[in-house]
């Protein structure tokens, strides 16, 4: 008996499809095609916006633009104060919201007795994440600017932005903490570690990638929102650098709004608008990259 001889093959049931099977195949192809189309459309839309901003903004950006103070209501000169303003606002907001958010997430996920109370807290947090930014602006105006007497200042604006991004950071951090296996906690506790040692040494480091993903999202939001800073910090035209956190400052998104809609020579300052938009994108990108570098560091260090 030859071992190379092929077996007799019956083909009917595997290779022949009826009309129903062909229809099912067609439906599948159509669905996939549609999904692919939608995805490509989205990418195209984002790509077009970025392309438009880069193409039109790049010529406007030069050393003068990023290092000079604005003149003639922003029609000439640079946007240095707005750059400084946005960076300091975002830094303050992240600096306040990240520790607070992580602390809340740790409390909710690691310490709090789970029950109706924590469910309500979570509901409140998720609801806060959906509150329109203008409402946060009004809240900041009432609390930080007026009641606490910070005035329109970097402090008031940064804290307002921190409130706005806090829910995102809490939710992202808690989700990340949830993915850390229970066995890491048990293993640590069984070695005689306290709860806090366990969380600090054997849970949080592994949760950092997820926490930093939430931070990346928050950076973009904090840098880009106009309504909260409009009410709490942003100056229409203030060609000086802030001396302290109690000073008012210009900010990129609001400056962009002013240039695009409030400026008497809106058409003439169009390159300035594009340049400002591009710089805003670059700053968000730069700060997010920083967070991503940290995230990759933690990802590479702790694998399981």
């Amino acid at each position: 008996m030859s071992t190379t001889a092929t077996l007799p093959v019956q083909t009917t049931s595997l290779t022949q499809g009826g009309l129903a099977r062909r229809n099912a195949k067609l439906a599948e192809m159509l669905t996939y095609g549609l999904m692919r189309l939608v995805t490509y459309l989205m990418v195209f839309a984002v790509g077009y916006i970025v392309f438009d901003i880069v193409a039109n903004g790049l010529p406007a950006i030069n050393w003068e633009f990023v290092s000079q103070f604005p003149r003639r209501s922003g029609a000439q000169g640079g946007i240095l104060p707005a750059i400084v303003g946005t960076i300091s606002l975002v830094t303050l907001a992240i600096g306040v919201a990240l520790p607070l958010g992580v602390a809340s997430a740790v409390y909710l996920n690691e310490y709090a007795k789970q029950g109706r109370f924590t469910d309500m807290l979570r509901l409140a947090i998720v609801t806060l994440a959906g509150v329109p930014s203008i409402v946060f602006g009004l809240f900041g105006l009432a609390l930080f600017v007026l009641v606490l007497g910070f005035g329109a200042s970097i402090l008031a604006g940064g804290l307002t932005l921190a409130c706005m991004i806090l829910p995102t950071i809490i939710v992202a951090s808690e989700e990340s903490l949830k993915t850390i296996p229970k066995s890491f906690r048990e293993g640590s506790l069984a070695l005689g570690a306290t709860r806090w040692q366990t969380i600090f040494k054997n849970v949080l480091p592994y949760a950092m990638p997820g926490i930093l993903t939430g931070t990346v999202l928050s950076i973009g939001r904090a840098a880009g929102e106009t309504a909260p800073i409009l009410l709490t910090v942003a100056a229409f035209f203030l060609p000086v650098l802030p001396g302290s956190v109690f000073d008012q400052v210009m900010a990129l998104p609001y400056h962009l709004y002013v240039l695009a809609t409030q400026h008497p020579e809106a058409a003439a300052v169009r390159p300035m608008q594009y340049g400002t938009a591009l710089l805003l994108l670059l700053i968000v990108l730069g700060m997010s990259l920083l967070a991503i570098v940290f995230r990759n560091y933690f990802r590479g260090k702790y694998r399981w």
């Binding site: 293993g187 069984a190 070695l191 005689g192 040494k201 694998r303």
Partner: protein, 319 residues
């Protein structure tokens, strides 16, 4: 007596490939059958199970000095509740120093719950309640003044699924020592080396201490977890089905290790594998539906159980 040896010994049950040392098991080397001392009337059908031939002869004293082994853990009328469900009913048991005690019983019988009472790990579960006393060296471990951190230093635990931390091998073993305040690099190096040696892992990992522990094989991971546990110098080691996630060869390594460790530590091991219980333990407790049905020397429990339930379980009629 008539014992069909073909039925009794159709195959050796140590499928792990582990060579069971008859001396360790307390089987008299000359005895071809462990049951030769028993009359036929004492031998119901259960004796036909293949693994029985490994079992020690109860008539042979296992450790001549057995009765002298001091009690390490004294469990005194313990009840345990998850919410309103009572998981353990009036458990009393003594766990002897430098002996391995196996806890056996069907799933959900409360043996793991019982194990986790001894380092107070059950406290991590919300809405649980414990009644009774557990004494470690005469000290009530549930006394309000007892520091649970110090207790868990004394009573280490090895889990069912190997749970190495996603750190380097070195950092895993040094974790407990660092937690307890040892910072000196040289001291840590020594602890890491000696405990890895005790756990029989040093030879395999000594050149890759900085590699991630999660890259080790399952059996190596479990030995690493044992090393990590030894590094904080416990007196008691609780093992919750330590080999159930491992292949037979890796399980064999762990069993060998347990045999060595019990010279210095008090070992309590929960297992579903009855051959394992017979191989590694000196004493056995059989749990059923939250009650400790029977406890005694392993040899006696497996060859001549007093309770009908125990007999039914070890012969595989349920469980």
């Amino acid at each position: 007596m008539v014992i069909d040896t073909d039925v009794l010994q159709p195959q050796h049950s140590d499928k792990t490939g582990l060579d069971v040392d008859p001396g360790k098991m307390g089987v008299a080397p000359s005895a071809p059958s462990a049951f030769s001392a028993l009359s036929v009337e004492d031998q119901p059908a259960r004796m036909n199970t293949p693994f029985m031939d490994n079992f020690p002869d109860p008539s042979q004293p296992e450790h001549p000095a057995e009765t002298l082994a001091p009690t390490k853990l004294e469990v005194h009328h313990v009840n345990f509740f998850y919410g309103s469900f009572q998981a353990l009913h009036d458990i009393s048991m003594s766990l002897l120093q430098q002996r391995a005690t196996a806890l056996i019983g069907p799933s959900g019988c409360g043996k793991s719950t019982f194990l986790r009472l001894m380092n107070r790990m059950n406290e991590l579960i919300e809405d649980t309640r414990m009644e009774g006393q557990i004494l470690l060296d005469g000290q009530d471990i549930y006394h309000p003044d007892v520091d649970v951190v110090s207790l868990r230093k004394e009573v280490g635990m090895v889990f069912q699924k190997p749970n190495p931390f996603p750190k380097s091998i070195y950092d895993n073993v040094a974790y407990g020592s660092r937690i307890h305040g040892i910072k000196d690099k040289k001291t840590l190096d020594e602890i890491v080396e000696s405990t890895l040696q005790q756990a029989g892992l040093w030879g395999e990992v000594k050149d890759s201490l900085q590699k991630s522990a999660t890259a080790l094989s399952g059996g190596q991971q479990q030995r690493l977890c044992i090393a990590r546990c030894l590094a904080v110098q416990p007196k008691v080691i609780l093992m919750d089905e330590p080999t159930s996630a491992l292949d037979p060869i890796a399980a064999g390594h762990i069993e060998e290790l347990i045999g060595q460790l019990k010279k210095n530590y008090t070992i309590v091991i929960v297992t579903h594998n009855m051959q394992q219980a017979a191989r590694v333990s000196d004493y056995t407790g059989f749990f059923y539906q939250g009650e400790l049905i029977e406890t005694g020397k392993t040899a006696q429990i497996f060859t001549n159980p007093k309770e009908k339930k125990t007999e039914e379980y070890i012969t595989g009629r349920f469980g």
